[in-house]
Amino acid sequence: MAVLFRPTRVARAALYPRLPNLANADWRFKSPADDDYQCIAWAACRVDRHMWPHSDYTWFPGLPLVSIPEEAPVDFFIQGFATLGYEPCESRDFQFGYQKVAIYANDIGVTHMARQHFLGRGWVSKLGTAEDILHRRLEDVEGSMSPLALQYGRMAQILKRSWWSACLSPCLFRCFRHALKFLLCRVAWRALEIKWKIVR
């Protein structure tokens, strides 16, 4: 496990060139950087592994995989998350009783996933191996569709499941456990921020 607490201004300076829409967005950090998981795993409520339809990563059993130079189609992720009870839907708005995830894709396939906040306060994105952030709109982390741009492209699909489906899987318990962990992390982070300001 490698958790990295870095000053907010440093993390923001690193993210703005990569995700330019964040510069004018309402967002905040939710957790320190952690390379044990990435956005796909986070959308599936896992924080101990990386998920991707490839043999080096965890993926849903029995579903097709891709090799690294090949694109990862959105359909693969829809099929995968269907095993957790998710189904495609049109609306990105918060619906009481439903949990939603969004799939982002660029010209070569899926790039990112975000999960809707449990109470609809926005979307929680794990930025690769960097921090988790809470952003108000899905457009806040959108970017160029070109694979050369190193951005997430655009939102391609929304999936939703009922809270009842979430209760049937261990996901909900993991979500609460990690919400508590992130709360403790934020307290520690705030203390570090104060210390860094004093040191400066």
Partner: protein
Amino acid sequence: MITYSQPEVAEVVASKDEWFVLPPLPAKPVCTTACEAEVKEWFTKDQINNYLRDLAWYMSHHPAPVAANLPTLADRFREQAEKWQNETQHLSSPIQKAAHPSYQAVLGMAAENKQEIIRLLIRDLQQNRRMWFWALSYLTQDNPIKPADAGKIDKMIDAWTTWGKDKGIA
């Protein structure tokens, strides 16, 4: 009298611009070839001796000045690895990460010394936890990661470290 073959002369003539510029026409050429006129313009035995003598003096007074400034393979690897991490840290897609120019540059370095690059990759995996798994699989044509451990970074790093020790690389 020295006699040069035709290919030798052609090779020397072709690389003429890469050599130092010589003073005006030699007084006493030593070459006899079909391209004698062209070679005569810039080769004499005395001149070569003079240049070798100057070169030897320069090298004795400037111990390996050029080689010391050249970045080693490890330096170049570190530079590209840091650049790769900084620019792809926010990405989750292994396809996007592997397509980054720095990742490709590291793969390209394997053409110079494959064993050394594999050793550097495994060491970087241990020290900095940068995810070189696909590069290692590609370069070694092997994959020591058990299916049950796929995606779990600590166990994947352990698997590659053990693999490196078994092969005598790490």
